[in-house]
């Protein structure tokens, strides 16, 4: 069991630092503790797979790291910014600048085509129309979908939709990508393509990736695998 930070990572300047984080949910009048005094450090450029049984708190961890849920106690610092006491509007700004989300069910806007879906986060920036268009083209090229820019989500396969979602996540060039079961809805072959794309983003573009998954095959694409169980991390060695 590795609760201690030094046991998980020895990097001098971690991108993510969780210290004594606690999170409890209240359900049907009963308090359910997800984490108690959880500690974690992840260095910039890492690709971490988080595994664990259902209800172990994987998605809650992702929500806390993405600033879409708040810890009851402790400190969460990402990219030298403390999230715990950030206002909602500051958190929104921070999310737009720092984090890209990739979901299991892609969550694309059905009324927008691929290019517009990718462009969506850029509406929050001061980029001009032509700059936005250029960024969208680049993001779609990276995921190999430049020829599908005008297609609506329903005209794309599951794998293609997930690629569009990845393009949307990287278009504003965030440091951190949070992926919640990104291949959970895909067949083995397509899943492999998506995971290779994530690997490429980590390797060639230096993106720090945290991926929640149930699939040990998917976890093999990560540099590190963390097992979350009963509110604690266990780091496992990657087998060849």
């Amino acid at each position: 069991m590795a609760e201690n930070i030094s046991e998980i990572s020895s990097a001098p300047t971690p991108l993510i630092q969780l210290r004594d984080v606690s999170k409890t949910y209240r359900k049907s009048g009963t308090d359910i503790t997800i984490f108690h005094n959880l500690n974690l450090e992840i260095k910039a450029g890492d690709f971490v797979a988080v595994m664990g049984p259902s209800g172990s708190g994987k998605t809650t961890l992702l929500n806390l790291l993405g600033g879409i849920d708040r810890a009851d106690a402790g400190s969460i610092a990402i990219n030298d910014e403390e999230l715990t006491h950030m206002s909602e509007s500051r958190l929104s700004r921070w999310r737009a600048d720092t984090v890209g989300f990739i979901f299991q069910f892609y969550n694309l806007m059905p009324m927008l085509n691929a290019a517009s879906n990718v462009e969506l986060p850029l509406l929050l920036t001061r980029l001009s129309r032509s700059e936005r268009r250029k960024n969208v083209e680049t993001a779609l090229q990276i995921v190999g979908l430049e020829d599908r820019a005008g297609h609506s989500p329903k005209e794309l396969s599951g794998g293609q939709q997930q690629r569009v979602a990845i393009a949307r996540a990287i278009v504003s060039d965030p440091k951190l990508l949070l992926c919640d079961e990104p291949t959970g809805d895909l067949d083995r072959g397509t899943a492999a393509e998506i995971l290779e794309t994530l690997q490429m983003l980590n390797r060639d573009f230096g993106k720090t990736i945290i991926m929640v998954t149930h699939d040990p095959e998917a976890a093999r694409y990560a540099k590190r695998v963390l097992h979350l169980d009963k509110g604690h991390f266990i780091e496992k060695e990657l087998s060849s």
Binding site: N63, G66, I68, D69, E88, S89, S92, R93, W94, R95, A96, D97, F101, F103, N107, M109, P110, M111, L112, A115, S116, E119, L120, P121, L123, L124, R129, R132, R168
Partner: protein, 385 residues
């Protein structure tokens, strides 16, 4: 893509729902525009009222007669400049359904007192004054029935009967007038009081209302009091009011049109409000997951609020503008129909009022869904989606 196009894409994502909601708003504003202009046209008569004109009527009701002798007695009251009188004809052309707003008048004093309101070529005015069987007709009336100057026109009355039992008067069209003081179609006819009075079998030497021009509007109250006091103890006590007040009360005899109009438009708008509110709320509920995604991507809650509210406002503005446009088209078309009794005009203040109603409708239908979207918790949104 811009925020504007994002709003538009969201609004039109379900074409059928968008079209039906838009149609509901369209109908509401079509009615709003048309009924407002109808109300304005109906009340236009009340606007033909000079500040220095008073109307004397029977105190019981203006449908009751006054003795003709009152005309000369009123002339002697200090401050009175001109006096004329008019007698309701209850007239129609050929068939009772062709009702015509008609009065028997003393032509000379009538045309003098209404010189600023009735536009009649001088030679036609002269012909009318000198022709006991003459009449003048509003241009709209003349157009409607195809009357031309010099035509002999049989006008019947549902009140007055001639001594020979006939209810029809043969009248010569000596003039066709327009209304110059307000933008309203010239309807109605005027004939010689003497011609009516001479031939009718009852009600001789009585008239309906007496119209007075005072030397100064400041004297109105004083003169009205003097007239009513003078006839207070006679069998025909009078009530003297400004012409504007008299006209308004005359229109009220038709029923409280404004109240009916407000009720109809209000009911239509309220129904639309419920429909659009429900549609907007449903649309936002269906998009809970998407709104969660937008917030996760960094869209602040206030931006999401503004986007949803803008959808509701845009919907109200598009539907409302189309409805008002259709009302304007209808008004324009009816203006070209010969003899259409009312001139429907969508005045600038009606457009402004409709714009205000569109904004209020948009705000009322959009605020609650926008507030719900504002409050959506991202993590909960993904769970619900």
């Amino acid at each position: 893509m811009t925020r504007g196009s994002l709003i538009w894409k969201n609004l039109t994502r379900s074409r059928l729902r968008f079209a039906l909601t838009l149609f509901a708003i369209f109908i509401a504003f079509f009615l709003f525009g048309l009924i407002q202009s109808f109300d304005r046209a109906l009340n236009a008569g009340a606007d033909i009222a000079a500040a220095n004109r008073l109307v004397v009527s029977n105190k019981i009701n203006f449908t009751q007669p006054l003795p003709l002798s009152y005309v000369n007695r009123i002339k002697t009251i200090e401050g009175v400049d001109m006096v004329t009188h008019q007698n309701w004809m209850g007239s129609y052309y050929q068939e009772p359904r062709n009702f015509i707003f008609g009065f028997a008048v003393d032509p000379e004093s009538f045309l003098a007192i209404y010189a600023d309101d009735i536009a009649l070529p001088p030679e036609q005015a002269k012909a009318f004054i000198n022709d006991r069987r003459g009449m003048i007709a509003g241009a709209n009336e003349a157009r409607k029935y195809g009357w031309k100057l010099g035509d002999l026109i049989p006008i019947s009355s549902n009140i007055w009967e001639q001594t020979d039992g006939s209810k029809t008067w043969e009248l010569v069209l000596d003039g066709i007038f327009e209304i110059s003081s307000v933008d309203t179609p010239a309807n109605g006819i005027y004939l010689h009081y003497d011609y009516l009075n001479e031939a009718r079998s009852f009600g001789k030497d009585s008239t309906g209302t007496i119209v007075i021009a005072t030397q100064d509007p400041a004297l109105n109250d004083e003169i009205a009091n003097a007239i009513d006091t003078r006839f207070l103890n006679s069998p025909f006590a009078t009530e003297t009011r400004t012409e504007a007040a008299f006209n308004a009360s005359f229109i009220e005899q038709l029923g409280n049109i404004s109240l009916i109009i407000i009720s109809v438009v209000g009911a239509a708008l309220f129904t639309i409000l419920i429909i659009v509110s429900n549609t907007m709320a449903m649309s936002v509920r269906e998009r809970t997951g998407e709104i969660g995604v937008m917030k996760a991507l960094g869209f602040p809650a206030k931006t999401v609020f503004a986007l949803i509210l803008s959808e509701a406002l845009l919907l109200a503005l598009i539907g409302g503008s189309l409805g008002m446009g259709a009302a304007w088209l209808m008004a324009t078309v009816t203006a070209g129909v010969p003899g259409f009794p009312l001139r429907l005009v969508l005045y600038p203040d009606i457009w402004l009022m409709s714009l205000g109603v569109m904004i209020v409708l948009g705000l009322l239908t959009g605020l609650l869904p926008a507030w719900n979207a504002y409050r959506i918790n991202i993590a909960a949104a993904f769970t619900r989606a």
